[in-house]
């Protein structure tokens, strides 16, 4: 069995199992903890509107901090959009998703994917350097932050190298890329990467709780 056979076979199989197992464990666990009865008398409110309102309002920086977090805010959006485009609209990736989900979607030309992947990598490295050097960010960062950044950064770099056929034989680079994705999938449910799934439901829940109490947020 070659490295690529392992990476695209048993390696991917175990990584996917651990990923869906872990994500469902944490997500369902969190959802089941929500059903605690709230004994307070609710204000008049629309829970869906309050939940969605919180998702939208928290997508922009609070006015008081606007100038101070502008860099973080912009780079955060650029990073996430570049990552989404690179991951979700590269034809070979879509073929993988199709094999897992049973359906696919249109792809973008490789040149665009290469540009977005390079942007995503550059922004993430910038943010990593900032986190490691900025006194406040450094103080509030723990191992989880750094591990989560690295397990996402390595697939990006190995993906670009595999795409460009630079640094080794294509099948070796592809195998390393797949293995790095598998490390990311295994880490995902147990570290801060889980925010990708938890953020929106958490905002929604906070929004409905605030709405019930008549808090505008």
């Amino acid at each position: 069995m070659t490295l690529l056979d392992f990476a695209s076979g048993p390696g991917m199989q175990w990584a996917l199992w651990i990923f869906v197992f872990g994500v469902l464990w944490r997500l369902v666990g969190a959802l089941f903890l929500l059903s605690r009865k709230d004994l307070t008398k609710p204000r008049q409110y629309n829970s869906v509107a309050a939940g969605l309102g919180a998702i939208i309002s928290r997508s922009a920086p609070a006015h008081a901090f606007e100038k101070r977090i502008l860099f973080q805010h912009v780079t955060g959006y650029v990073w996430h959009f570049a990552l989404f485009i690179s991951v979700l609209f590269f034809a070979p990736h879509i073929l993988f998703f199709e094999s897992v989900l049973g359906f696919g979607w249109p792809h973008l030309p490789n040149t665009i994917i290469l540009i977005t992947a390079i942007i995503a990598t550059a922004v993430l490295i910038t943010l990593l350097i900032r986190r490691a050097t900025h006194p406040v960010q450094r103080f509030i960062s723990n191992a989880d932050d750094y591990i989560s950044i690295f397990v996402v950064l390595i697939p990006l770099i190995t993906g670009i190298l595999a795409f460009a056929h630079v640094g080794g034989r294509y099948e070796t680079l592809l195998a390393i890329h797949l293995l790095s994705v598998e490390v990311m999938l295994i880490w995902f449910p147990f570290g801060k990467l889980m925010h990708a799934i938890m953020t929106m439901p958490a905002r929604y829940q906070a929004g409905t709780a605030f709405g019930r109490r008549g808090v505008k947020a």
Partner: protein, 353 residues
């Protein structure tokens, strides 16, 4: 070709011009990634070469490799080069049969001990040697016996090089490659199902010129021919970059000659020279005729998850197993939430008491 005749004399007798011969030498030098200054050396060495003894053993194979090498097209300089070796034993091509054939093999081995080239096509069954025998001799015994005094071995075709189709899961005959059996001799793997004719003539030309085996890659294949993957040399590569793919074999993309990646083409992970040398005198190759590369020159190409599955689709198992993992995760989530609630309730009760 008479045994006392050298290759230059033989080619002249066959009506091959000096220009044609040098053209072949230039192409051979270029194929072997040699500098232009080596062309004269190649021409000189080839012209003076005495034909080496070659013993060709065919084991678990389909004869496709022999068909490819000997019947691919009308005689050319390449095929004359092929004629110019002394093929002392070859089931399909030799006139002798039975004991006479075996006697020819033994005589060639004795006369050219330590100097002959042993070409093997087909895999060797070790599960039960009786699956394939020649003159009552098992393939395993014949290979060991013939390889013992060979100068070098050439494993022609993916079956001999890596086990090939007989080796495919579940490998009922216990098929193995030549290099699994012979470990003390140089082995050149000329893989492919079948290999391109000019690759074997190129390997022989290298041997005739330098008396050595060519530079090999990690899988024992001549680097000059197997150094680059099909994808990097494919004329459809620009369509891959533009994201223009054939979705089926008869859609608009297929008719326009777009990239076959989505239809399972294994070009990116296959190392061979099909996209440059092509087949049938440089006429075409599988991708040019509209079918994706099946990766036939790579080990275990038969067990890579299907010829029509895209490389990136992977072989990660069934969707049912994935749903099982999801259900187990969800059950654990419910369980841990209930356990947390019970712990909290217990703590509250203890506090109230």
């Amino acid at each position: 070709m008479r045994k006392d005749q050298n290759l230059g004399e033989y080619l002249r007798a066959q009506g091959v011009s000096r220009r044609g011969f040098l053209k072949f030498c230039s192409a051979t030098a270029s194929l072997m990634a040699l500098p232009p200054s080596a062309i004269a050396q190649v021409a000189d060495a080839l012209a003076k070469a005495r034909r080496p003894s070659v013993i060709w053993l065919s084991f678990q194979e389909c004869t496709g490799c022999t068909e490819s090498l000997t019947r691919s097209h009308a005689p050319t300089v390449e095929s004359l080069i092929f004629d110019a070796i002394s093929l002392d034993y070859h089931h399909t091509l030799q006139a002798a049969a039975g004991h006479g054939a075996e006697a020819a093999r033994m005589a060639a081995m004795e006369e050219n001990s330590g100097e002959y080239i042993l070409v093997v096509d087909g895999s060797i069954p070790v599960g039960n040697p009786a699956y394939s025998t020649i003159a009552g001799i098992s393939n395993l015994d014949m290979l060991k016996e013939t390889a013992a005094n060979a100068f070098a071995l050439v494993a022609v075709g993916t079956c001999a090089a890596f086990g090939g189709i007989p080796h495919a899961n579940p490998n009922p005959t216990g098929a193995v490659s030549v290099s699994d059996i012979v470990t003390d001799k140089p082995i050149i793997n000329v893989s492919g199902c079948p290999p391109i004719p000019v690759v074997i003539t190129g390997v022989l030309a290298h041997f005739l010129t330098f008396g050595t085996i060519p530079e090999l890659d990690a899988l024992g294949r001549p680097a000059a021919f197997f150094g680059q993957n099909i994808h990097d040399r494919c004329y459809r590569r620009p369509f891959y970059e533009r994201g223009q793919f054939a979705e089926t074999f008869d859609d608009e993309g297929a008719r326009k000659g777009w990239c076959l990646y989505k239809l399972g083409c294994k070009g990116p992970t296959t190392y061979n020279t099909c996209a440059t040398l092509k087949w049938n005198e440089g006429t075409s190759f599988p991708i040019q005729s509209g079918h994706g590369c099946i990766g036939c020159s790579e080990p275990d190409f038969w067990d890579k998850g299907g010829f029509y599955n895209p490389i990136s689709a992977g072989m990660w198992g069934s969707r049912d197993a994935l749903l099982g993992a999801a259900a187990a995760g969800a059950a654990l989530g419910v369980g841990s939430a209930l356990a947390a609630r019970a712990r909290k309730k217990k703590a509250q009760a203890a506090e109230e008491a």
